[in-house]
Symmetry: C2
Subunit: 343 residues, 2 copies
């Protein structure tokens, strides 16, 4: 557990460096993880663009979608041992108080590991033992690195209370939208993905998701047509587009639900009249709870979702700067992974 290792650092101004550093020792309650793969999230790209410089303590190792192998454990850790294959749920709720009423995953003083503290784009990573979930037996760690975004999708679908046969519209076909569509479909919903980008439309159709361009198809009419005139049961707003926020209430049946997955940094106009008239419901959803990770890992173990197709590119840690630059040059890809260990 000694020696040196490579780690990447976001240094501000779109600079990601890779340096040799001392391999750390796990303290009490901590686990040393040899990171296998760590996915690049849209949030990592925001950080890279400098949009979160007030929150990120530079230079900082970022990344929070990691799979890996336990390399060592600190004092008091009995539930994990060297060699265990795991994924990380990057939420540190140790600042939780009674005022949070048990909602640990969104507690007021939540620290998001990989943003508010060092992340997974490094060879070895110290994480609190309570953040780990066992990777499914026999699943490769490349696919396992999708556990974090898949858990987001599981949380969104669970918060939306999707049931068998419902008509669900997913607005926005980026990685999270695509995973929400997959999970909603696995929950028995009939899914329509709304997306304007032709390559994402093609990707969705290729993996068996009905996908339409709302600029070419009358989406409200399509929803009514597929529901005996009622409209959709649920909309997942994953695009973050103002027009989507304003138009989403047109798609829904009486008592339809909306799950807001996208992050809107500024207030945005909604058609509250539709909420009143059709008694609609809007549900905010953020990150995931342990049960969502368990569901994501079960879905992975069952191998019913085309997750491997989500992986557009894999770069070794040494080439992380190139990976981020490539995402800027072509933002249409789904998930880029950084291979952090040589295993």
């Amino acid at each position: 557990m000694d020696g040196t290792m490579k780690a990447s650092y976001y240094e501000g101004n779109r600079v990601l460096s890779v340096k040799e550093t001392a391999r750390p020792e796990p303290g009490p309650g901590e686990v040393l993880l040899d990171v296998a793969y760590c996915g690049i999230c849209g949030t990592d790209v925001h950080i890279y663009h400098g949009a979160m410089d007030q929150r990120v303590a530079m230079p900082q190792t970022i990344g929070h979608e990691a799979s890996g192998v336990v390399a060592g454990v600190g004092p008091g850790v009995t539930e994990w041992k060297a060699g265990d294959k795991v994924v990380v749920r990057p939420l540190d709720n140790r600042g939780e108080t009674a005022a949070d009423r048990g909602h640990s995953h969104v507690c007021a003083k939540l620290k998001f590991i990989g943003i508010d503290s060092p992340g997974g784009f490094q060879e070895s990573w110290i994480v609190p033992a309570f953040t780990l979930h066992k990777a499914p037996e026999g699943l490769d760690l490349k696919t396992a690195a999708l556990a974090e975004p898949l858990a987001v999708a599981c949380h969104d679908v669970r918060m939306g209370e999707v049931t068998e046969g419902e008509l669900a519209v997913v607005i926005g076909g980026g990685p999270i939208g695509m995973l929400v569509a997959m999970v909603a479909q696995a929950a028995g919903a009939r899914v329509i993905l709304s997306e304007v980008n032709p390559s994402r439309l093609a990707f969705a159709r290729d993996i068996g998701i009905e996908a339409v361009n709302p600029l070419e198809t009358d989406l409200p009419a399509l929803c009514r047509e597929k529901s005996g005139g009622s409209g959709a049961d649920i909309v997942f707003e994953v695009s973050g587009a103002k027009a989507a926020a304003l138009g989403m209430t047109d798609l829904l049946a009486i008592r339809g639900r909306i799950v807001v997955v996208a992050i809107y940094p500024k207030p945005v106009e909604l058609n509250l009249f539709h909420f009143f008239w059709k008694e609609l419901k809007l549900i905010g959803a953020r990150v995931y709870e342990p049960a969502d990770y368990e569901q994501a890992l079960e879905l992975m173990a069952a191998r019913i979702l085309p997750l491997e197709k989500m992986i557009s590119a894999v770069y070794p840690l040494e080439r992380i700067a190139e990976a981020f630059a490539a995402l800027d040059a072509n933002p249409e890809g789904m998930k880029t992974l950084i291979q952090c260990g040589g295993k």
Copy 2:
């Protein structure tokens, strides 16, 4: 059941006339009601102001908050007989289709009686038998005329799933806001009413509702103070004010709920970031279901709410024009009733 009667007519341009007309005969499935009292709703005032002229077939008898006595029944009506004291649930769902999925009270082709068809500001009124509920034994028909707005409040509180001990904020202290506050309090919530009008603040305090002016009191801080730092469990937005819509998410705890009661004719800005960050929920609520009427009538029978104090003024039918003009001159009153029968 023959002879003549008086009826009022909205003729457009703030004109309300009262005329002698033939007393109608109930047809199949219909009941002839001798109207006792009929309250003036904010919607009636909108109609009077000409804001709904495209929907109201002038000249038309309006009014939909009525109590009365059954005077006769049409063919096929067996559940009611002359002399029964009743209140009217003014929803005609006979245009309901399968696409409405059983949500009769907000079905796409719902007709609101008193807006889309003749209402209660007349001596005798023909209504479908299915719109009637029995008035509580011994309750005077003046108070019973509050059943309709009270059922709105019951519906709002039920849709919000208010439970014992929760902290509820009601934004807007008009008649509906005041009734929502009463019903939420009866459901065991600790209620704060937010209102800027001094006479409405005084009215609320007089009937035992904690009321604050949000321009003078830091309402988000007050909510945290009363909840161990968490924030309010539920907000009822009854004001229809843009600033209230934008600010309401500041008041809430993690997983707090908002019931939108006010009608926003135009899209309005909401802080969707708060919905995401705290996993808030927004629930649209419109009119009422039969169960809400039953609950309203039970609350009336139990005499636990200060409903009589809600009645600010009573005018005889002949003076209905004066009643509407008085509301325009002084919109601070709570509920004005029109006494339609001489009983």
